[in-house]
């Protein structure tokens, strides 16, 4: 690796750490309903939205009401995208006259964008009209991100409030997240991206004659606006099929830097927001530190694997599947950030990563998407691991476990275990079915251990609501559309519902003040324990699967065999 590449990575994390308290503090202000510098502009608009939709913004909800509102809203979002995709041929803003998609693909895509996964079994420029992209996917990019953040805020209230009954109002959380956080940030990022040459156009595709005299169609579209939110909202669904490897989606090293920063921006700031809302920013920083430590380790392993001498290719600069304008370091940095955060956008093909780097990307998702993770989702997922950690650590010091003064009892433990079990079940059972039936195997473009990795990656990506693809697998088939669709649903709501149930249970508990007998959750020791629990649970669950995929592939590659 070049010194300049190290410098870029250092700059990246330095900037991330610097922005975290600024953005995090701002978000905490928004969620506590306090005045911010945006309030004068946006408050009237916010009021108007409540008035039009008949929402009483002072009304608080129990966890069940909150969950019901969330599910209803998401179901409507699903329906909107589903219908748009089927009917887009007859709708306006369709300069290429793209026809309606199959029902399987519409189901898969609607689930995918509703669940903040943005798994794409289609190629945007070939399958979707501008209207579907903007009104369907664009809107879901915002509200699915806002849904994740809302759940995290609700859980935070459950922890922070003492002996209360309600965890906030879903409609208010949804509106404020979108209005005060996602929209302004997206606007800013979109303008910056346009300045770098990202397209933003309603024009039809351009035909050009290449130097070889062949004709080439160059797709256009309202890309910049969508790319901004796909990065910020950990959505990841590219406007174009090859995502941020496309020169119109990510033209320059600077646009690349902005986009890769945008991936972790909100997830990392939310750790600070959390700390602020529970009354101790140290709590937030401890979680941030645990997340950062894991990311740095997987990044180091991947960079090492990607830059060490490859006996098969006889080179130590492996550029297959990478863009010349980004190089190895920036491609790997993106690959790791996009998989730890459940973003899923790519600027290089993960299928072509060295087996270990590909395995790290998979492991990142298998850990439950809690290392930064999806916006909101990563933080509430992390809090589930915290509950398990606190439980085991609490027993080890001889106290009924408590976290921030709230006793952790059988119910919380049970719900937290469900949030860990649900995605694991999707990954393991989904992969097993796919490798055993012809409908699963016929989609493979590679055989052997690599083929196994491709299928394992697909279900892992679905369960973690990541959405990135290993590629090399044809997924627009009825089997994969349905199986992955179900996987995304379980991976999303199998976590959200138990999480809200915990919020509801914790909010009603009385507060136990800390004593010397309570072990502190804002110290390095706790971060170490938390990492240990995450790694042990993730590694133990998936070690057999990984050993038959990336691990054996890596060992075989060292022995000179590839697939």
């Amino acid at each position: 690796m070049q010194p300049l590449e190290f410098l870029q990575i250092a700059l990246y994390f330095g900037l991330l750490i610097a922005i975290t308290p600024l953005l995090g503090g701002f978000m905490a202000t928004v969620f506590c309903g306090q005045k911010t510098w945006l309030t004068p502009v946006l408050k009237p608009l916010e009021g108007l939205i409540y008035k039009l939709s008949g929402v009483n913004d002072y009304e608080e909800m129990s966890w069940k009401e909150y969950a019901f509102a969330l599910l209803t809203f998401n179901a409507l979002g699903f329906l909107a995208v589903f219908v748009l995709m089927l009917a887009q041929g007859a709708l306006p803003l369709n300069p290429q006259s793209t026809g309606g998609t199959s029902g399987y693909l519409a189901f898969n895509t609607a689930v995918s964008f509703m669940t903040n996964t943005n798994w794409q079994a289609y190629s945007g420029e070939a399958a979707l009209s501008y209207l579907t992209q903007m009104l369907g996917l664009g809107v879901q990019n915002f509200v699915s991100a806002a849904t994740g953040i809302a759940v995290m805020i609700a859980l935070t209230r459950g922890i922070a409030r003492k002996h209360a009954a309600s965890i906030g109002n879903f409609w208010v959380d949804l509106t404020r997240t979108t209005l005060y956080i996602l929209l302004p940030l997206s606007l800013l990022l979109a303008i910056l991206l346009v300045s770098q040459g990202v397209v933003q156009s309603f024009g039809s595709y351009v035909s050009a004659t290449t130097l070889e005299g062949r004709s080439q169609v160059i797709p256009l579209g309202p890309a910049a606006s969508q790319i901004a939110i796909k990065q910020l909202g950990t959505n990841g669904g590219g406007f174009f099929g090859v995502n941020s490897a496309h020169p119109f989606e990510n033209p320059t090293p600077f646009s690349n830097f902005l986009q890769v920063l945008a991936i972790l921006l909100i997830p990392s700031a939310l750790t600070y927001t959390y700390g602020k809302m529970v009354g101790s920013v140290r709590q937030g920083w401890t979680i941030f530190a645990a997340m950062l430590a894991v990311l740095l380790v997987v990044l180091a392993v991947s960079l090492w694997s990607e830059t060490s001498y490859n006996t098969v290719l006889q080179t130590s600069v492996q550029m297959e599947g990478k863009e010349q304008r980004f190089g190895v370091a920036n491609s790997v940095l993106w690959g790791m950030t996009t998989t730890v955060a459940s973003n899923g956008s790519v600027n290089a093909m993960h299928d072509s990563f060295s087996p270990l780097a590909g395995g790290m990307a998979m492991l990142n998702m298998m850990l439950g998407e809690v290392i930064f993770g999806g916006v909101g989702a990563g933080m509430y997922g992390m809090l589930m691991f915290i509950i398990i950690t606190v439980f085991i650590a609490g027993l080890m010091v001889g106290r009924t476990p408590e976290y921030l003064g709230k006793k952790i009892e059988a119910f919380e433990v049970q719900m937290a275990m469900i949030t860990i079990l649900a995605p694991s079940t999707v990954i393991l059972i989904g992969t097993m079915i796919a490798v055993l039936i012809p409908q699963g195997l016929s989609s493979l473009n590679n055989q052997g251990a690599h083929g196994f990795s491709e299928i394992l990656y697909a279900f892992t990506s679905a369960a973690g609501n990541n959405g990135s693809a290993f590629a090399g697998l044809t997924v627009d088939t009825p089997f994969y559309n349905i199986a992955i669709g179900i996987g995304m649903l379980v991976g999303r709501f199998g976590v959200i519902l138990p999480t809200l149930a915990i919020a509801g249970s914790l909010v009603g508990k009385k507060y136990t003040p800390p004593s010397l007998g309570t072990f502190p959750t804002d110290k390095p020791l706790f971060a170490v324990l938390l990492i240990a629990v995450i790694l042990i649970v993730g590694a133990l669950t998936f070690f057999p699967a990984l050993s038959l995929g990336p691990i054996v592939e890596h060992l075989l590659m060292n022995a000179g065999k590839t697939f």
Partner: protein, 700 residues
């Protein structure tokens, strides 16, 4: 309970436990423990496979050994539970012996009193029995008439007899104890089978043991982990099928016994197998310290306690206050004060009164009983006992009225004779109170002329070593609150001397109850010790209420533990045991899960030894970091290690992990290093050693 601490593996108990580990194979027993049930199901499957192969003429010693070790795993877990139960039963039996064959003298239609001899077990609640010297008290009850000395050594192990009398705070008697003098009438308060002893016996035996809240939560974690590993193992069969095809293999690498072996190695069998033993032995340890708990939940709550309410008397200070100085009022001869004080205390049989007599003798050589003139006078003396209303006591003798008591009451008393209360005495009273002493003012009235003679200083003597004990508790995050009837000044001084964190002065039953409620409202868990009937509401309100065995029946019913030794400092032991109980579970869970890392490195390369062959060995053989000899020896070593570790940890489960009152973060570090990091490292060594042995013995 004359309990000797039995050696961990007492031969009789071990023999019985060995047999019970087989009878516990009953599916109805197994199903109560999901983790071990899964192992048993796996063992059955594996056995079935072995015999099916045998029927088709294929005999596999490897499969046979795997199957046997699976069964051993189940048996070892059963054995651990049976050992813990056996130790409990041994204690229960010794308790029970005190009861068999007891005859009761039941009085029908008490108080008209016709006596019938009946067997103790026929007694009903509400029956009245009479017990005289030599009789064994037939059941738990309350003394309703009479006073007797009772030998309670059968349950406390303490040979000195105790006084039990009707009314007051010493009215409760326990079945199985023996009256050694006098006669008492006892109303039976507990139905046979529901007496203290019966409840305790049931608890120790583990028969009525209910899972505690933390145990339930832990069971959920263990069950969920078992499901995760079940998923991982079942899907591995599918993944392997794909990989076998991909690498050109035609036979399946994963037989049922191998899959079951992998599953059993991964699921948390170590903690799963020892979980109930830990719970039972916790109760057992409590009983060894002569504390009986009414539920396991109470013991666990004791570990969470962060506020301790302790009575000053007997816990923090040595029983009673002692006279330490006579401070005469201005112009009064010290000897005159001492003589008056002594005279007024001669009939005062309280420890304070006796200490005044002793001090007068020591300081001034005043001896009451050999002074015949004095004695003659005393014969006509009228002693005025202390009452709560007058808060004075004294004597009227030969035209003198001597009174001693609280300063304000004496002031009123002399005021009624229009005499002034000397300012220097007032100062002395304040000085004494400030330093934690109790001032007793002595006044004399002769011919309607009242004189304040001076002050007797009574001092509390703080127990040696108690301050260090409280400091330890503070380190463990437990706050101590002293309860005392003293005035705030006195209380503050003693509190400072004893090193408690807080105190309640001039405590009444109401203030105690209120304090407990306040602490609980602020989120604290409160433990308290009490003996009197007036303590009952507070004992019931506290999260952990330890009643003294010498206390009233009401107090014993209100608390959730009884200390047979009636030693208030025992509460500290109870807290200790409660914490140990949780820590043992946490430590073994961590250890159990940490073990899985090494087991993966043993089994995964072994089962895929022939997958993706390059250069004569499977690609995954690189993961065989322990260099285990053969795939078979690797799998066998892992499963043997997994079974033996349960046996190896039985002593730890029974004794509990070591607990020292340290801050939580220090404890956490220590246990994380020992059971977490150690739990990762130990099986690497253990499995390797077993592998060497397996190969040396040609087991595979």
């Amino acid at each position: 309970m004359s309990t000797q601490v039995k050696s961990l593996f007492d031969p009789a108990i071990t023999r019985r436990a060995a047999w019970e580990s087989i009878t516990k194979l009953d599916p109805r027993v197994q199903v109560k423990n999901p983790v071990m049930f899964l192992v048993a199901v796996g063992a059955v499957l594996s056995t079935f496979t072995f015999f099916r192969d045998l029927a088709s003429g294929a005999f596999s010693t490897f499969n046979l050994q795997i199957t046997l070790w699976l069964w051993f795993t189940v048996l070892f877990a059963n054995f651990a539970e049976a050992i813990a139960e056996g130790r409990g039963k041994a204690q229960a039996d010794s308790l029970r012996k005190t009861r068999t064959g007891t005859m009761a003298r039941r009085l029908t239609n008490y108080p008209s009193s016709t006596e019938h001899r009946v067997i103790a077990t026929e007694l009903k609640r509400g029956d009245v029995v009479i017990c005289e010297s030599g009789d064994v008290i037939p059941g738990d009850g309350e003394v309703i008439k009479g006073i007797a000395s009772v030998n309670e050594s059968a349950i406390t192990g303490e040979s000195a007899p105790v006084i039990r009398e009707a009314g007051g705070d010493r009215s409760a008697v326990t079945g199985g104890t023996q009256v050694i003098s006098d006669q008492i009438f006892v109303r039976i308060t507990a139905e046979q089978g529901d007496s203290f002893l019966d409840r305790m016996i049931a608890l120790v035996e583990g028969a009525k043991r209910q899972k505690t809240p933390n145990e339930i939560a832990l069971s959920i974690v263990l069950a969920a982990l078992s499901i995760v590993f079940l998923l991982a193992v079942v899907t591995l069969k599918g993944f392997a099928a794909y990989s076998e095809t991909a690498s050109g293999l035609t036979t399946s690498l994963l037989s049922v016994p191998v899959l079951v072996a992998l599953l059993v190695c991964l699921i948390p069998t170590t903690i799963g197998g020892l979980l109930s033993a830990i719970g039972i032995s916790g109760m057992d340890r409590l009983i060894q310290r002569n504390v009986l708990a009414t539920s396991g939940r109470a013991v666990e709550a004791a570990g969470d306690v962060d506020v301790l309410l302790l009575d000053k008397t007997g816990t923090i200070t040595l029983g009673n206050r002692m006279a330490s100085a006579f401070i005469p009022a201005g112009g009064i001869d010290p000897k005159r004060l001492a003589e008056a004080a002594q005279l007024s205390s001669l009939a005062d049989e309280t420890p304070e009164g006796r200490s005044i007599v002793v001090l007068a003798k020591e300081n001034f050589g005043i001896r009451g009983h050999d002074d015949s003139e004095h004695n003659a006078a005393l014969h006509q003396a009228t002693f005025i006992p202390f009452t709560a209303q007058t808060r004075m006591s004294g004597v009227d003798v030969g035209g003198r009225s001597i009174r001693k008591g609280a300063a304000d009451m004496i002031e009123k008393y002399v005021d009624s004779y229009s005499a002034a209360f000397p300012p220097d005495t007032k100062r002395a009273v304040e000085d004494i109170a400030k330093t934690g002493g109790t001032p007793l003012v002595v006044a004399e009235v002769v011919a309607n002329k009242a004189t304040v003679l001076g002050v007797i200083q009574l001092k509390d003597v703080v127990k040696g070593g108690i301050k260090e004990r409280f400091a330890e508790l503070r380190k463990a995050g437990i706050r101590t609150v002293m309860i005392t009837g003293d005035n705030p000044l006195t209380a503050a001084a003693i509190a400072a001397e004893a090193g408690v964190d807080d105190y309640i002065a001039e405590a009444t039953p109401e203030t105690k109850l209120k304090r407990i409620r306040d602490e609980q409202a602020a989120g604290h868990l409160v433990a308290m010790v009490g003996d009197g009937t007036n303590d009952a509401p507070a004992l019931a309100q506290a999260d952990v209420g330890v009643a003294m065995n010498s206390g009233t029946q009401a107090a014993r019913e209100a608390g959730n533990m009884v200390d047979l030794d009636s030693n208030p400092t025992k509460l500290l032991d109870v807290v200790h045991i409660g914490k140990q109980l949780l820590m043992t579970r946490g430590a073994l869970t961590t250890f159990s899960i940490a073990n899985d890392v090494a087991k993966y490195f043993a089994i995964i390369p072994a089962i895929f030894a022939t997958l993706y062959m390059t250069n004569g060995e499977g690609a995954l053989s690189a993961l065989n970091v322990m260099q285990l000899a053969t795939p078979e020896s690797a799998i066998l070593s892992a499963i043997i290690f997994n079974a033996l570790i349960i046996v190896a940890l039985i002593p730890l489960a029974l004794r509990g992990v070591a607990y020292q009152p340290l801050p939580a973060s220090t404890l956490l570090w220590r246990n994380f290093l020992i059971y977490g990091v150690g739990g990762v490292a130990i099986p690497f060594v253990g499995i390797k050693l077993i592998d060497i042995l397996v190969v040396a013995l040609h087991l595979v």
